[in-house]
């Protein structure tokens, strides 16, 4: 039922305590947190630095604006309402279509304007926010998801999480919503995590509830065949977020837009450890390799190249057969 600390150390797995003390406390100065904890601020800073983010449609920061929501939303039929200081994907309402005053959620459920207003009002009072503090609600343009993931995601929004350590991307995973996770891309709620090779953008292996799987539980498609498009643009984009935030241990969440390519949707100063399970590898050896670097590289693209070469496992041409998640051909 249990393994031993020795075994975990051998795999280089980063534990929660080590993450909190050695990465977050040591590499993420507290004063930099507000920038990433407040998505509105992140968006502003990222936009200024030329980093691709979904377009902001409106900000609701007072109850009076909640009443005005029908006017504000009059011209929009596809949007996402997010708490600016939300955590763990809580309080994100995605509207994919509307018919008059009836809105369709990503799950296909219909909700009314009143319910949207209630959601916004709850967001303002801090229901979804860290520590229950007062918050503002952001209304963002809905990302036009790249159809590449349609086969792999059930209901929800697939996103790519890249861990960036001191500016170097060290690990990546794709998170796919499932029926069980209720369209959310949170692994602990039952979403599928697909480890992504940093060099090629191709699937390494996939897990659900910490156990390896080969097919998406709802769409039944083979996960090992996934290859993320625009990978060569995506890795430097993630690396560039270090320069904007200064956070040494950073989780960068990226979605792919059909027309605009990779878009940063969220930065996280306390990224979790599930990515190791999805990749079947520990993060510690990679952290140590970055720590050993003497030269300081200010160019994000060059750092991304170094990461690809250092942590990539698959050359772009090798077929995915050897990886063990798909059945070998007869």
């Amino acid at each position: 039922m249990l393994t031993t600390p020795k075994q975990l150390r051998k795999l280089g797995i980063l534990g929660m305590n080590a993450r909190n003390v050695e990465l977050i406390a040591a590499k993420n100065p507290r004063r930099l947190f507000p920038l990433v904890d407040d998505k509105l601020k992140t968006k502003m800073v990222a936009e200024r630095a030329g980093i691709a983010v979904p377009k902001l449609l409106a900000v609701v920061d007072q109850e009076s604006q909640v009443r005005n929501l029908p006017t504000t939303l009059a011209e929009h039929s596809q949007f996402a309402i997010k708490p600016s200081k939300g955590s763990g994907g809580k309080g994100i309402l995605v509207i994919t279509n509307r018919e008059g005053d009836v809105f369709l959620k990503a799950s296909g459920e219909a909700i009314s304007m009143t319910e949207i207003q209630r959601h916004a009002s709850n967001t303002l009072s801090g229901l979804y926010s860290l520590g229950g503090r007062q918050d503002v609600a952001m209304i963002e343009a809905l990302v036009q998801f790249d159809p590449i993931f349609e086969k792999y995601s059930y209901e929800g929004v697939p996103d790519i999480r890249v861990i960036v350590y001191m500016g170097y991307p060290i690990m990546a995973m794709l998170r796919l919503a499932t029926h069980e996770s209720d369209g959310k891309a949170n692994l602990h709620q039952g979403a599928v995590g697909v480890g992504i090779d940093l060099a090629s953008g191709r699937a390494l292996r996939a897990v659900q509830h910490g156990r390896p799987i080969s097919h998406h539980p709802d769409t039944k498609n083979i996960l090992a065949a996934i290859e993320i498009p625009h990978w060569e643009r995506l890795v430097p984009l993630a690396a560039a977020c270090y320069d904007v935030t200064g956070l040494g241990y950073l989780g960068v969440d990226i979605v792919l837009d059909r027309n605009l390519g990779p878009q940063i949707i969220e930065l996280n100063a306390r990224p979790g450890l599930a990515i190791q399970v999805a990749n079947g590898a520990g993060m510690l050896p990679r952290v140590q390799r970055v720590d050993k670097l003497k030269e300081k590289v200010s160019d994000a693209t060059r750092r991304a190249e170094w990461s690809k070469q250092s942590f990539g496992l698959l050359p772009p041409t090798v077929s995915a057969q050897k990886i063990g998640v798909i059945d070998p051909p007869c």
Partner: protein
């Protein structure tokens, strides 16, 4: 790295100081490390409060007169600014505090340490002095009293049986007209006792009012209990005036026998006296050495014993909180248990101390469960956060109130302790769990709720451990060691127990893959 060294240095210093002080107290001052082989010493504090108006103040308080079954180890009359004198006369002892001029809220204190002698409880055998009460009933009370005593006299044979019968009549559920008339004159225990003594005196039976204190640990703002003693066949017999039960009860210290009122204050108004009681355990040797030690140790020993009693009682539970905090730290950092609210389990554990474990858990589940049901209705009402939490708080209070009322009707008085649960914390717990339910499903609620209860239970078991209780109260300097341990735990970067399970599949797969690779290399050549 330097931060790490700083923590080690700080923790080391804390260990040395904490351990040093503890050993000093143990070896030099003779405080025993273990609670075993100890006897209870009751520290009783009488606090007289009054409002002075600028005139000379004289406070006269009856003091216990060395009761035969209880030995007084130490007494303290210290009240800054007041002169003190003691007067012993007529088998009574009074302490007098005086001041030329005082203004505003004033308090004087009398504190004593007593030790119950083992063996049979003795009642004083001093023969009665001539009764000081003039029997002065006025009409129509006189007739009522006469009728009553005549009736009782007819049904009794001795002073003892007379008293017993008299109490039976006066406490009757359905009293006759005479008793009702007499009862209407009395509004408290004291007047009742006085009436009894009067009635008995009118029969020529020697009787006196007795005031005493029930010795119960952790009592604050107590009043004295009033009883009477009746002289029969060369023996004073103690009667509980409510139940008629005879004999001095266990753990009852007689404070005043006969004599005048308990407290007399001149030159001030709104006077009152309250008693606090703390039980502490000391080795028999320490009890013997009491006098010498308190003088010697007072300067060097910053023991909690030097605080006023009411504060000592408060500290008894406050000093247990760090133990709860340690449990939380260990469960979070070493075990990796999820709880709803970091320190909520400590507060729940403190409530468990009052309710005891099983009723506590049941009450907790009942309140939170009912709260969740009502909260799920509130979430449909579209309320703002602060209003909703406030509504939940009121709901929690209503649940508590109805639980108390229902339980008393059903005769389960244990459920009355529901009031010890911190209601704001309960309300927040309900709110958090309800959101968790909506977002992550009931499984997560069970996990976190169960985790919280488990941590609270472990904290409760640690906090109620007799040795832990003894050590925290008698050796508060051990807190420094606890602080050092928590500092060190704060630096712990190893794996949590839960992670050994969480990452197990990864280890298994890595092993499998290794095996497969080995097989591959074997087959390829």
């Amino acid at each position: 790295m330097s931060a790490k060294i700083k923590v080690y240095i700080a923790a080391g210093l804390l260990f040395v100081i904490g351990l040093g002080l503890t050993l000093y107290k143990n070896i030099e001052l003779g405080f025993p490390l273990l609670p075993g082989n100890q006897q209870p010493v009751w520290t009783i504090e009488a606090e007289v409060n009054f409002t002075a108006v600028g005139d000379p103040v004289l406070v006269s308080l009856a003091l216990p007169l060395d009761p035969p079954d209880i030995s007084i180890l130490d007494q303290d009359f210290a009240s800054p600014g007041y002169g003190f004198s003691e007067k012993t006369a007529d088998f009574s002892r009074r302490g007098m505090w005086s001041k030329r001029s005082a203004n505003g809220e004033q308090s004087v204190f009398y504190r004593l340490d007593v030790h119950e002698k083992l063996g049979k409880r003795l009642e004083t055998q001093t023969p009665p002095v001539k009764s000081t009460f003039e029997v002065d009933f006025l009409e129509p009370l006189k007739t009522a009293a006469n009728t009553l005593t005549e009736k009782v006299r007819a049904q009794s044979a001795s002073p003892h049986t007379f008293t017993a019968q008299l109490l039976l009549e006066l406490n009757a559920e359905a009293p006759d007209q005479n008793v009702r008339l007499l009862r209407r004159q009395i509004s408290n225990e004291d007047e009742f006792a006085t009436l009894l003594v009067k009635l008995l005196s009118s029969e020529g039976i020697a009787a006196r009012v007795v005031r005493g204190l029930r010795l119960e640990d952790g009592r604050r703002r107590q009043q004295l209990t009033t009883a009477i003693e009746v002289y029969d066949e060369g023996d004073w017999q103690f009667f509980n005036i409510e139940t008629g039960v005879t004999g001095i009860p266990e753990r009852f210290m007689v404070w005043q026998r006969g004599g005048r009122s308990l407290l007399e204050v001149s030159g001030a108004k709104n006077s009152g006296v309250y008693f606090s009681i703390v039980e502490n355990f000391r080795g028999s040797k320490d009890i013997a050495l009491q006098d010498k030690q308190s003088v010697e140790a007072a300067l060097i020993d910053f023991s909690i014993y030097s605080l006023p009693l009411a504060e000592q009682n408060a500290f008894k539970s406050i000093l247990l909180v760090p133990i709860g905090a340690l449990v939380v730290v260990v469960m979070r950092l070493l075990v990796g248990l999820k709880t709803s609210g970091t320190f909520m389990p400590i507060l729940i554990a403190l409530a468990f101390i009052q309710t005891s474990l099983v009723p506590g858990v049941l009450i907790f589940l009942l309140v939170v469960g009912t709260g969740l049901i009502i909260r799920s209705y509130l979430s449909k009402l579209n309320l703002l956060l602060v209003a909703r939490i406030s509504a939940v708080i009121i709901v929690v209070i209503l649940i508590m109130a109805s639980m108390s009322v229902l339980s008393i009707k059903l005769g389960i008085d244990k459920a009355l302790t529901v009031t010890f649960f911190p209601m704001i914390i309960l309300a927040w717990t309900i709110e958090r769990m309800s959101i968790l339910w909506e977002e992550d499903g009931p499984k997560e609620v069970l996990m976190q709720g169960g985790g919280s209860l488990l941590v609270a239970t472990i904290a409760y078991l640690c906090m109620t451990n007799r040795i832990v209780e003894h050590l925290t109260f008698n050796f508060p300097e051990l807190l420094l060691i606890l602080l050092g341990v928590i500092l060190l735990l704060g630096q712990y970067t190893g794996y949590r127990l839960s992670e050994l399970r969480r990452f197990k599949p990864m280890v298994d797969q890595a092993r499998e893959q290794q095996k497969q690779n080995a097989d591959d290399t074997k087959t390829t050549p």
